[in-house]
């Protein structure tokens, strides 16, 4: 009999190789075998599948695996989790804890973290309605009206969905359902969860279980909040104007880069499109940083992107040039300018930093 840490580490190794080979059969067999040898389902979910998925993101960012491998691996992990969930429910507790809804923010495609939480909660005796990736807020609210759960667990991985998450949080609370936020999007120690008025934040699946077991009081629906009540800085309209002018900023920055980098004029249309997408990403993260009023959010994205570019042999110089071009167009936006300066300084300091960072890739 091997010790649990050894067994866990072995299973992680085998699952990693199976998902890298795109071998769904072997991946499922690995996990089911490990279970037969005594690893609990929760251990498999949180200490085998979750770390493997984490590694998939890290390896993609470091350009050691392709997009296809990354997607195939994620799909296989999802199906392995599903195969555990659909096992005949021998020895599983009857749901007696209460009822919760687990959903991803609208636009959020990274469903695995939410799926793992949903599964762990089921194992701990909760009745879970799992709504999956990118749940439109209107669907979420309709579901809450019909099921009246004790809480909603809202998962987000990419920070640019924070404004949407904010709308979802307020909407749930307005109908008297408390929100427990989780996932990387909500920032270090959940600082954006607090800023957006979520009732609770949890660092991981087990923390979420603990929060729910302690009980989350229902918010008072009569205390109707508006966006600016939570985030008074939005009154300066910088976020709104940046979002509204996104396309214009991207076009202008592209044109400016053409002037600064004559080499760019020789780019193929696909290369130009990639550059445009990168700039659009920068604008999106800048807008989100304005929304939560945190320059660190923007800086973290920039240094992470610089790491991604460096891993792919692209000089991060273009990133700085893009920021300069953007700064020229944002003269009337003091808060945005400060964030760009902050990010620009961090980029200069940035020497190839190892990934991971925020998980923003497609």
């Amino acid at each position: 009999m091997v010790s649990e840490p050894t067994a866990t580490a072995g299973a992680v190794q085998r699952l990693w190789h199976a998902v890298m080979a795109g071998d769904e059969h072997r991946a499922a067999a690995t996990v089911h075998d490990a279970m037969a040898q005594g690893l609990s389902e929760e251990t498999l979910l949180l200490q085998v599948i979750a770390p493997v998925q984490e590694k998939v993101g890290v390896e993609w960012a470091a350009d050691r695996i392709s997009v296809a491998q990354e997607h195939a691996a994620t799909a296989i992990n999802e199906r392995v989790v599903a195969s555990l969930a659909h096992r005949p429910a021998a020895g599983r507790p009857a749901p007696d804890r209460g009822r919760v809804t687990v959903a991803c923010v609208d636009g959020e495609w990274h469903a695995l973290p939410a799926r793992l939480v949903a599964q762990v909660l089921t194992l701990r005796g909760w009745r879970v309605d799992y709504l999956g990736a990118q749940t439109p807020t209107s669907h979420l609210i309709a579901h809450l009206h019909l099921t009246n759960p004790d809480a909603v667990l809202l998962s987000g991985s990419i920070p640019t969905h924070l404004p949407t998450a904010h709308a979802a949080i307020s909407a749930c609370q307005a109908i008297g359902v408390p929100v427990l936020a989780g996932g990387r999007a909500f920032g270090p120690r959940g600082r954006y969860a607090t800023a957006l008025g979520a009732d609770r934040w949890a660092a991981d699946a087990r923390a979420a279980v603990a929060v729910l077991e302690a009980g989350v009081p229902r918010p008072s629906p009569s205390a109707i909040r508006h966006t600016v009540d939570d985030l008074p800085h939005l009154a300066d309209q910088e976020y709104t104007l940046v979002v509204r002018s996104r396309t214009q900023f991207v076009k202008q920055t592209l044109a400016d880069l053409d002037d600064r980098f004559p080499a760019m004029r020789a780019y193929s249309s696909a290369q130009r499109e990639r550059t445009a997408e990168d700039i659009a990403h920068i604008v999106d993260f800048l807008a989100t940083a304005l929304y939560v009023d945190d320059p660190d959010l923007f800086t973290a994205f920039l240094t992470w992107t610089a790491g991604i570019l460096t891993a792919r042999g692209v000089p991060a110089r273009s990133l700085a040039a893009g920021l300069d071009a953007l700064a020229d167009q944002l003269r009337d936006f003091p808060r945005a300018l400060k964030m760009i300066e902050h990010g620009r300084a961090a980029l200069t300091e940035h020497t190839t930093r190892p990934v991971p960072g925020p998980d923003i890739h497609a």
Binding site: G22, D23, E24, H25, R26, A27, A28, S66, V67, A68, H71, A72, T74, A75, I76, E78, R79, V80, A82, S83, L84, H86, R87, D106, G107, W109, Q134, P136, S138, H139, A142, L144, H145, L146, T147, N148, A174, I175, G176, S220, P221, S222, I224, R246, T247, V250, K251, A270, E273, A276, E277, I279, A280, A362
Partner: protein, 529 residues
Amino acid sequence: MLVSDRHGHLVRLNDAARLVLPDAVSGGRLSEQVPAWLADAHQRTIAAPAQGTSAELPHGAIGERYFEARITLSGGDVVWWLVDATDRRVAERALGDARRRSEVLSEASSTLLSTLNVPRCMEVAAALAAEHLAEAAVLIAPPQGRRCSLTYACQGDPVVQTSRQVDVTGVPGLREALQGFPPVPARWINPDDIPDWAIPDGFAGSVGSVIVAPLPGHGVPAGALILLRSSTEQAFTEGEEVFARLFAARAGAALSAARLYTEQATITATLMQDLLPPTLRTVHGVEYAGSYRTSKDHERVGGDFYDVHPGADPSEETLVVLGDVAGKGLDAAVLTGKIRNTLHALLPLAEDHQHILNLLNSALLTSHHTRFATLALASVQRRGGRTQLRLTSAGHLPPLIVRTDGTVEEAGTRGTLVGALPAVTARTVGTVLAPGETCLLYTDGVTEARGGPLGDELFGEDRLKRALAECVGMPGEAVVERVQMLAAQWLRDGRHDDMAVMAITAPKAGPLNTADGHASGGTTRRSGW
């Protein structure tokens, strides 16, 4: 007006003061001549004269009336001017009560209206009633058969909800209230007549007074509310009874809205069941995956559809259909339902795609719908390691095939749309998928997605092909998800048409179906219908 000296003696009082304080005598100690509140105020003024003019005037009752005292210092003496404030005080009290009640009603309204869930709405109504109107409240929903759903609330305790068989005639006026008759006045109800089931467990002591209030709904009664106070508390006044009725009106309106919503949502869900896209999985050793996004995020069905009709056994072909009805929303969805049913009936003829397309065409031409549709059909069969496909497009975008070497082929099938012309002409082509290869069927909502970093470009077929070239060897589910994700990210918040994507994938490994949790081989039953 009365005057007193520094030592606390009453020096003199005028005629008006004498009327108020008929027993007061000049020269006596003030504390013996006037009510304590005034004597205290005097003491305080003497002790700290500077604070004698602080914001709030000394005030209190003298006899049955209510006075405020204003002060002036005259030499060594203190002059108190008594101002009769009785009427103002009564008015202020009434105003305060009215304000408090309207605050309660407004809080109750927004809390009650915030939810459209019936049990939650009853919970909120009972809790509010116990908090603001009485010590305990019981909300009785209209009986369902012989059972009643009961919600018990006691001040400070959690709300308890149960469903049980009760005799509603046991509570005076309750049966009438449940039928929507006017309420019986509280004073007519004998608290001793209240049966045990109508008293929450946490209610301490005996019942002192009771109100039974009907909850008026939208056209039908929404239930009734029993309010209880213990015998140690003051009985309900007439004003409180009126207030309870105002509250009941709001609770009734909120409850019937919630009930109506739930009913409608249930009906919609039932009717929509057959219109929703099916969940796909592996059939006869071939992987199927599909994904659907409606043009409006709040809708669940639209004008695109797909289905997989498994062959009776692995030696028979499986028919795959993906289509797009002109138009969006529910109207289009209803027609997709008809087309799907018709095609299901035509399954035995699936060997000849053009034949079933023509039969469907006649059916659509003779129906009252004026809409037309485009379709892509695929007949799939796995033989050994080879997955054979027959593909036909009827006015639809040709399927794309992702080969293991990274090339993306367009199937060479062309045809006319269905439901517009007297006959359909279509060319069926055959192809073979090697293990790991995928054939993608999709609707034009994907390629016509408008957006991108520059805001106004079409996603287009070229971009779709480039994206697919990166999907070599991926499971069908991952391919479908990637296409939907790229299209969604391209669009961002832009308007779009319905988007359906389906993948037919020859699996790399053996015919294992982990979604079922066991190797299924040929045993997987039909999906979709």
